[in-house]
């Protein structure tokens, strides 16, 4: 069961360069932390895929064991886990996020 979900998540993070697992959607976020990360990505002027974990309880739980990370949102770049809200906020403030995402600007 878990293996299937992990495989599904693995496919999702490889489908696009930048993938955000969040509660709700960028237009209608359902959680303040998800909203903050979506807003920071918007500011970077990049396009990304958003996965609404509230639509799929298996993904909502599976994403936590996939990365060994207990919280949502989770940002992936090139299939690599970058961080949750706190780390993305720090990287946004320090300029590291802009640097990381620069190659993916529209």
């Amino acid at each position: 069961m878990t293996d299937t979900v992990h495989q599904q998540i693995d496919n999702l993070v490889h489908e696009q360069d930048i993938v955000l697992f969040m509660k709700g959607t960028p237009q209608f976020p359902q959680c303040g932390f998800s909203q903050r990360v979506a807003a920071m990505l918007e500011q970077q002027g990049i396009s990304y895929a958003a996965v609404n974990v509230l639509l799929d309880p298996a993904i909502r739980e599976g994403i936590k064991s996939y990365t060994d990370w207990p919280t949502i949102p989770q940002l992936y770049v090139k299939a690599e886990f970058v961080g949750g809200c706190d780390i993305i906020t720090e990287m946004h403030e320090s300029g590291e996020l802009a640097e990381l995402l620069a190659p993916f600007k529209k």
Binding site: F81, G83, I87, E90
Partner: protein, 77 residues
């Protein structure tokens, strides 16, 4: 929602795993939204993700139950 977990409880959980760390914990909203700063020399050379994973591991199941939200900052010194 009532919870038995206090900032001091979370602080002790981290210190049990990282005895020489400096740990500050507070509440930023309600009684289950915590903020925590952990300064530990053992974080040196580790990525932010790895540093946070060490703290989450110390908090164990509390991360999935009593703690609704945790704003976490970590650094080596």
């Amino acid at each position: 929602m009532a919870t038995d977990i206090t900032p001091d409880h979370l602080r002790k959980l981290v210190l049990a795993q990282l005895p020489d760390a400096q740990v500050n914990v507070g509440l930023f909203s309600g009684d289950d939204h915590f903020e925590m700063e952990v300064v530990w020399s053992g974080f040196s050379g580790k990525s932010r993700v790895a540093q946070h994973q060490i703290v989450y591991a110390a908090l164990g199941d509390n991360m999935h139950q009593a703690v609704h939200a945790l704003a976490l900052k970590t650094r080596a010194e």
